[in-house]
Symmetry: C2
Subunit: 700 residues, 2 copies
């Protein structure tokens, strides 16, 4: 490592450590908030215990998976260990393991703070909406800071440790694969857990027995709240850790090949993004005027503006390319636009939600058809947005020289994810206030407090739409960049194999031609994978929820006095069903993604894989957008009806809207968000396996 390269690593590591300190300070602040209500303390303890039990059991299963994967990686990647150079294989396996550990840590920290912040947010609501908001938000921010700090620190360390720039690529991809393979299972497992409990609790509680949400008599109520934490907090943290690492890894792999100050640009921009997020979080505070939505959005915009300004300054000071800055600015702008469009389709003051609520008056079939249709329409603007930003980044950066075009696209993704600290803070805020609402109900804090937590909860949903736009847009750009990374890995591997005499006639590949039927074959198969992947998750939820519904019905039948509130339900049994089921159901979907990539690669070689990744990206983005948006739309349509429109609570329209919401739940919280991770995993497997696919495949 030449000393001149160190200058950008030190501030990156420094700011990453600052983020940890800041997270520690926020955590301490949260823990200092009063927690006095005995009932709330007890229930919150149950939730914390349930979440930890699930997480520990999940991590035990995943540790076996990671161990096996690490051994395989050591044996085969980046090239078979018996072909020499044992160190790069060790480095790769090590980076992979570090990736999994960091990812697990991100989940753990999130659970730790969220399960402390929920009860304190509930109690703070007794003093008013502003302190309650602050407690929920700062709880979420701990997670945000921990995740972004860990990803910047991890990438910097792996980049530094793998030494010489040209060799560091593969180990970075290994680190990223560690993060994403764990995220795949964590997101899937958490997603199945949370929706199992949510659907089963709603169905038996709200629909069959007519008792309110979060009623302590419902045996699934603790499992439901645990689910918010393990699905939305831990799963989401692992997911965004993975996206963030993947976007940096893709940019660094390409930047290292390009040389010049490309690598420096990536690190400097990422460091500034983290700094901007810290400032943004510090400014987040509800003013005397304006609701929580405004406070959340304002801090997002503050972060965005600081990022744009400081990166411009850095570009000027360090003489980076202005085109690269332009690309990252395009990423920010498009992220905002995609967010605003998403908002239109899920906002209850706009036509899609209103029309879906209206359609519910006729019957549930119309709720569903209407929601499905609007969500299908909603894919167009986002797809155009991702396409246009890739196009703009490409044309901005192509004049800089060969290879810069794809690097520009990866920097647009880095730009979009610069505010990932804010995204995670806002996203983790959601389940914390959602939990707080449940605790307030179970602790009998009264109507006024419930009203405050409801307001905070609804702000979380609204803001999520905007941040989700960034997340999906960034995932789209990242995987396009990963496709570029795959291509450069293939050519690097080909050159090496050619030099070794294994593939003497290797000609570098310039791209993947659609008219090549091997590519087309890969594309058709790749397009079906996200569909099957999400189906397996949803079938898992279905099966698991059916088990839990049976258990809840059994408890109401067998436990005397439960319905009257005179006996305690057996919360544990429900948590256990959700846990066991989730762990059982998450494996097939995760393996499908990895095994299908291997199968297509061994059959059709690198061209088939090029098509496979493309089909996977295109249909994956489409399905992810469709599922996230339809789920959000139905959720808000139900809330809109509940707030007294189209017949209001208890009407036929309400029943129809609840059915829509139940269908939408696994869409938006299990399958939809897991698809992003699935695409990343598949892309990374392809890049890592490029040498092997070049040498062993039936059709080359």
């Amino acid at each position: 490592m030449e000393s001149e390269q160190l200058w950008y690593l030190l501030p990156a590591v420094g700011v990453a450590l600052l983020a940890f300190l800041f997270a520690g300070w926020l955590f301490a602040w949260v823990k200092k908030q009063p927690q006095e209500n005995e009932k709330i303390r007890e229930v919150s303890g149950l939730i914390r215990k349930g979440a930890n039990v699930f997480l520990n059991r999940e991590y035990k299963v995943l540790a076996i998976f990671a161990g096996v994967a690490a051994v395989l990686i050591f044996l085969f990647l980046p090239h078979p260990v018996w072909s020499g150079d044992i160190w790069s294989n060790l480095m790769m396996a090590g980076a992979y393991l570090v990736g999994t550990v960091f990812s697990a840590f991100a989940g753990k920290i999130g659970i730790a703070v969220a399960t402390q912040a929920n009860s304190r947010t509930a109690e703070a609501a007794q003093k008013g909406i502003r302190p309650s908001f602050l407690c929920g938000f700062r709880g979420g921010a701990v997670m945000g800071m921990a995740v972004v700090g860990a990803s910047l620190l991890g990438v910097a360390l792996v980049f530094w440790a793998t030494g010489k720039v040209t060799d560091s690529n593969a180990a970075l991809l290994g680190f990223s694969f560690g993060a994403s393979s764990l995220a795949l299972f964590a997101k899937a497992g958490g997603g199945i857990f949370t929706k199992t409990a949510d659907v089963a609790a709603d169905l038996t509680g709200k629909v069959e027995l007519g008792i309110p949400e979060d009623d302590p008599r419902n045996p699934a109520v603790i499992a439901d709240n645990v689910g918010d934490n393990v699905g939305d907090v831990a799963g989401m943290g692992a997911d965004l850790f993975d996206s963030n690492v993947a976007s940096m890894a893709a940019a660094l792999v390409m930047g290292a090949v390009l040389g010049g100050n490309s690598v420096a640009t990536v690190f400097v921009y990422a460091t500034i993004g983290l700094l901007a997020s810290i400032i943004g979080i510090l400014t987040a505070r509800m003013g005397k005027k304006g609701g929580p939505t405004r406070a959340l959005n304002a801090s997002t915009y503050v972060t965005t503006a600081i990022f744009a300004g400081l990166t411009a300054l850095a570009t000027w000071v360090f003489k980076f390319h202005w085109a690269i800055w332009g690309a990252s600015a395009v990423g920010l702008v498009v992220g905002t636009i995609v967010g605003i469009v998403t908002d239109y389709f899920t906002d209850d003051s706009k036509k899609p939600v209103r029309k879906t609520a209206e359609a519910s008056e006729i019957g549930p079939a119309f709720t569903l058809l209407s929601g499905i249709s609007y969500a299908l329409v909603s894919t167009l603007p986002a797809m155009i947005g991702i396409g246009v930003s890739a196009l703009a980044a490409y044309f901005l950066c192509a004049p800089l020289g060969e290879g810069f075009a794809l690097f520009g696209i990866s920097m647009a993704a880095v730009g979009m994810l610069s505010i990932v600290g804010m995204i995670i803070s806002n996203d983790a805020y959601g389940p914390i206030v959602d939990n707080a609402r449940g605790l307030a109900e179970m602790g009998n804090l009264g109507e006024e407090v419930l009203e405050i937590t409801d307001k905070l909860d609804s702000a979380g949903n609204t803001v999520k739409a905007v941040t989700k736009g960034f997340a999906i847009g960034a995932a789209g750009l990242t995987v396009i960049a990963l496709l570029g990374a795959f291509l450069s890995e293939v050519n690097a591997a080909g050159a090496r194999l050619s030099a070794m005499g294994t593939l003497p006639n290797f000609v570098p590949i310039s791209g993947f031609d659609i008219m090549n039927p091997t590519v087309f074959f890969g594309m058709l198969v790749g397009a079906a994978i996200p569909a099957v992947f999400s189906a397996l998750l949803m079938l898992g939820v279905n099966r698991n929820a059916m088990r839990m519904v049976a258990e809840i019905r059994r408890q109401f039948r067998e436990i005397v006095g439960l319905k009257e509130g005179k006996a305690q339900p057996e919360y544990d049994k429900c948590i256990d069903i959700a846990t066991t089921g989730a762990l059982k159901e998450l494996i097939p979907a995760g393996l499908l993604a990895i095994i299908s990539t291997l199968a297509v690669g061994f059959i059709g070689g690198v061209h088939a894989i090029g098509g496979f990744l493309t089909g996977n990206i295109v249909s994956g983005l489409l399905l992810a957008l469709f599922m996230s948006n339809s789920g959000g739309l139905w959720d808000n349509a139900k809330k809109y009806v509940e707030s007294g429109h189209n017949g209001g609570k208890g009407s036929a329209a309400h029943k129809a809207a609840v059915i829509g919401d139940t269908v939408g739940d696994p869409f938006k919280d299990t399958a939809g968000p897991s698809i992003n991770t699935q695409i990343t995993v598949v892309s990374l497997v392809a890049s890592l396996m490029s040498t092997i696919f070049l040498t062993v495949s039936i059709f080359k």
Copy 2:
């Protein structure tokens, strides 16, 4: 036209005319069957009148569209009329108009016979299942023969009339575009009509009032039966006419460039396919043993075997390439496999339907999630099947020389569609027996007759699954071939423009590189189009059904004695709502497909269009498979519950299953089958506009 080329045109025209004669004979046979029941005659007259009113109004609207399109084609295609050569523009516009007229004729003939055959099939059921089956099947066969005869005749005439082989390509695509643009609107309009009426009739009749299906008191009952005819018969006829013409046109465009006996192969195989269908239809008869399903499938397999045998003979006699024969045989085999897989996901003796019926016991949300999940899984085998057959055809034919590989793919499509005559006969049989069931109920023919028509109806549904496999598989291969046709059109146009000095530096394009961001941009936008297209159709159904539900409720409220069966409902009003609504709602979806293609072409040029078509194909196939299979699955799950399982009729599971079926109806009968046509239209627009996209576009 050289005389040696005539030898294969004459038999083609001869067999096409034979098909018309055969259709005429079948029609006469159907009309000779007794029609005695006064009530049935009356209702059947109402249905016929309603269908004709809709068709005439629809064709009036479409005539305006076709007229405008013909003028635009004359002005701009194949190249601006002022740039010389007025004859090719005239020829193109003429071929286009002939295409629309033939397509309209196919719809008309189908309606004419189906609305005669329905009542006779109902009455024949009084004599037993065998004569009833024969009447329904022969009614459907009239349509099958007319459509296939018309497509072979039209393609042969246009090919002959446009004279010199090298110039004939464009006019053939114009003919195909005429067929597909009309099919797009006919399928969309018919699909909206039929589901408007079906959904509204079920919702008010079965669900609200608890009166049986096809009860004459329901004001929407006639509209519902009209819908079966205009949607399933006329729309489906236009759809398959379009697929058949497109597959032949793509093969001929490429075959003409390849020279040798390629064109002859296309015509000889298509002629043999028609002959085989005639024989297959003649053998279709229910034996004393075995039900109607067996009779229908047997005749399909007879046709397939005759086709395979006769084409092998022809290949030997005329010294065609055996590789091409292999490709068409691969098409047949894969079509069968896709059909069998489809069958697995929609058959009520298999797991997907059973599990969905079981999930209905818990609630409608589970019916939906289960059906959606299985249908998502069902896309994988079909996508693999299409991909593998393209790959196999390619590798079989690639050794024959450059260009033969894509020609092989188009011949696999021709092979799949060789049995299109049988497909249409089976498909048109469905709505005829469905109508017959309704007429038997309204004519009070008794329980025994209803049982027979139910059996015939259910056989229609089962057989549809297999033929649908062929239709979707063929559409997939055809559009891959059309992508090839687009590429050769672009290169031909480029060469011409280069010779004229307009594009002096034109370099022939060898393919479309995924790593080119213009291609990727096109791909992302193209992938969203089928989603938006199907959403617009479903929203159209939603809006229209809501209007009709309101009207039905009004009639039951205002017409005294209607519910007791003492007064007549105002059937006309419902037919009018369905008609007006369908005509209003079909336009935006159709225009979206055409305008988005033009927009992407003008922005990104031919590379963006290459990506656009690819994205469109990939996501279109995925959505079409998903929608067709989920619709079929829910339909059969409902029937399974109705036959006494999981609680049977009237149970909570039944209500949930009905909701699933209602969601599935527009999936499988409106949006799903229209997507095929949408893909074809977009591909043809791209090919026809290739010269213009090469010269005017923002990014080249």
